[in-house]
């Protein structure tokens, strides 16, 4: 009996004008475009320079800032207040003021002061641009000192160690952070949304009536709905692995096998949840909104984009009942740390519980009789 039903599901999915393309193209596009577009790295920051010193050193500093590639000098102002106006009019994001006698003080006392003001309306951008700037300045100070030491001037100046700044390397690690996260998101969306829309669309078409009047068992029916998405999930994941390897040169430190085993359980859990939503919905619209609501919440409180540890305590507690959280923990530890099944027992047990619970509920809530 199951054979005929699964055959039917696959024929319907393959004949759908959009679904097969969506299943193949969506992961490709998302993985190729999103990590490049949704990037925490900030470039082309508009900088306003207020150079009150106009000395060789101050010009050298400005030149260094420009050549870093992160800043575009859009404005030079005579006074700090004028510079601030540029920020107010949005001509600049950040302002650097080099005080009068910057060079003199640097030579005489071995220290100089600069003032950095950033527009923090976009907090992220403000924070990053001022920290970029200050590290360029620190770097500059270091260079000046090492020049002196080489030249033998001011022999008493102590050698100051320059801390290596990883900040500028942030973007190098960025893909390994973002790509596994996007794979998880794709799996959640495709294997959550499609089942949620499946049963309810049979209700709208009226075909569910013809099924309900047969002696088909509820369990068989739900299984026949689950298996196709299970296979689709594995396909999507495989595409993801491929893009990560070819496009970003990213291979998990652990084994693919571990991820596949987890994905097999995880897809069952989200698809079961989708079917549950579908059972309770009367129209496609309802199902779509409800699953959208849950998927967004799952994603936002899963630790996918913001670390769980920095959430308020109540939100941290909520993540315990979020299957996505366990899957992401697994994904990151396998990709970055190389963990195996044995290290991830806790996550596996949690996912098994979710998969079992959602699917039992999906079978129970499917009603053949009103």
């Amino acid at each position: 009996m199951l054979k005929y039903l699964i055959e039917k599901e696959f024929k319907q999915i393959l004949r759908n004008p959009i679904l097969p393309r969506l299943i193949l193209v969506f992961p490709l596009m998302a993985l190729l475009i999103l990590p490049l577009a949704a990037n925490y790295e900030i470039k082309n920051i508009n900088l306003c320079v207020v150079d009150n010193d106009q000395s060789p050193y101050s010009r050298k500093l400005v030149e260094k800032i420009r050549s870093s590639g992160y800043f575009v000098i859009t404005k030079t102002a005579k006074t700090y207040d004028k510079g601030l106006e540029a920020i107010e009019y949005d001509d600049a994001d950040v302002l650097i003021e080099i005080p009068k006698n910057f060079e003199k003080e640097l030579i005489r006392e071995g220290k100089g002061k600069v003032l950095i003001s950033a527009n923090a309306v976009n907090g992220m951008k403000g924070g990053l641009s001022s920290s970029y700037l200050s590290s360029i300045v620190t770097d500059f100070a270091g260079e000046v000192r090492s020049e002196w030491i080489e030249a033998g001037t001011g022999g008493g100046v102590p050698v100051i160690e320059i801390m290596p700044l990883n900040r500028f390397n942030q973007n190098l690690d960025y893909h390994s952070y973002m790509v596994p996260a996007i794979m998880v998101m794709l799996l959640t969306m495709i294997c959550g949304f499609l089942p949620a829309l499946n049963i309810v669309s049979e209700k709208e078409a009226g075909t569910i009536e013809q099924i309900n009047v047969t002696p088909i068992r509820k369990f068989t029916f739900i299984i026949s709905k689950l298996i196709p998405y299970w296979i689709i999930g594995i396909i999507v994941l495989t595409i993801g692995f491929g893009v990560a390897a070819v496009g970003y040169n990213l291979l998990p430190a652990g084994s693919f096998g571990t991820i596949y085993v987890f994905a097999a359980v995880y897809v069952l859990a989200v698809s079961g949840f989708g079917l549950l939503v579908s059972n309770y919905s009367e129209t496609l619209q309802q199902a779509l909104f409800v699953i959208f609501f849950f998927v967004i919440i799952f994603i936002l409180i899963s630790g996918l984009y913001t670390p769980i540890k920095s959430m308020p305590e109540w939100a941290q507690t909520l993540t315990v009942i979020n299957p996505l959280r366990y899957f992401i923990e697994m994904m990151r530890s396998v990709y970055l740390k190389g963990s195996g099944l044995f290290d991830l027992q806790k996550q596996m047990i949690a996912l098994l519980i979710f998969a079992g619970l959602f699917n039992v509920l999906a079978v129970v809530s499917y009603r053949k009789r009103q």
């Binding site: 009996m1 054979k3 005929y4 039903l5 055959e7 039917k8 024929k11 319907q12 004949r15 759908n16 078409a205 009226g206 075909t207 569910i208 009536e209 013809q210 099924i211 309900n212 009047v213 047969t214 002696p215 088909i216 053949k368 009789r369 009103q370």
Partner: protein, 246 residues
């Protein structure tokens, strides 16, 4: 005579509204039973209870020997059902729909194949075997839906307004299919709006406001109500209805 459908004081309420109000009747094995009534009289609701698609609020019923309250799934294994709204899969081909439902009722692959060819031949439908169901004309869709509903050889088939919206010639062909089914020993329970079709039935019941107000053979009904045809019988009874059709 053996009774294949027995309803006793069946009631279905939706909130305050009593859709089916205490109906009692029997259907004999092998007969064509017409279930008439105006729109909204409760025909479909009553039929859905008998098919195990809807739980009775109270009352009892047995279909094909099984209790519709406690053994709904056993009832389902022994009946066929064709709903008012076309409910085969539009995105499957003709043979795929037949195969799917044959499979669900537990038929084997070879048996399905053999019977499918036989059926399509009988319907003169061989050229449409690979046609997607959505591109069939309505009359053909309904013939196919009926054929699928009796493909697994059920004891009883329930037809809910099977000929709605099709031309008289196609209706005639459809009724020929119904007669063929009774020849195979299948009991037919059919709802309809067409009074000429009521004349084809062995016995008819007429539902008014959720109750069964008359139950007889068409001939006896015409005598009782002193009417020329079933149309007049129907008007006389339906006039007493208080519910609005729709």
């Amino acid at each position: 005579m053996k009774k294949v459908i027995e309803a006793e004081n069946l009631v279905k309420k939706f909130g305050d509204f009593t859709a089916v109000d205490n109906i009692t009747f029997q259907v004999n094995e092998g007969e064509i039973f017409g279930f008439l009534g105006a729109n909204g009289a409760g025909k479909t609701t009553a039929m859905r209870m008998l098919c195990g698609l809807s739980k009775p609020t109270s009352g009892e019923g047995r279909v094909a020997g099984y209790d519709i309250g406690k053994e709904a799934e056993k009832v389902k294994a022994n009946i066929g059902y064709m709903s008012q709204k076309f409910s085969l899969y539009n995105d499957l081909k003709v043979w795929e729909n037949i195969r799917l439902f044959g499979g669900i009722y537990g038929m084997g692959s070879d048996e399905i194949k053999e019977k499918t060819d036989e059926l399509l031949k009988r319907l003169n439908f061989e050229n449409e075997k690979n046609t997607m169901v959505k591109s069939l004309p309505l009359g053909w869709k309904q013939k196919l839906a009926f054929s699928v509903s009796i493909f697994h050889n059920p004891k009883i088939v329930f037809l809910d307004e099977p000929t709605g919206g099709v031309d008289p010639a196609t209706r005639r062909q459809f009724w020929e299919l119904i007669y063929e089914a009774t020849d195979r020993g299948i009991t037919v329970f059919v709802t309809t709006h067409y009074m000429d079709e009521a004349e084809y039935c062995d016995r008819v019941s007429i539902m008014v406001d959720g109750r069964i107000d008359a139950l007889e053979s068409p001939m006896k009904l015409r005598e009782t109500y002193d009417a020329k045809n079933m149309d007049e019988v129907f008007y006389q009874l339906a006039r007493t209805a208080k519910r609005n059709g729709g």
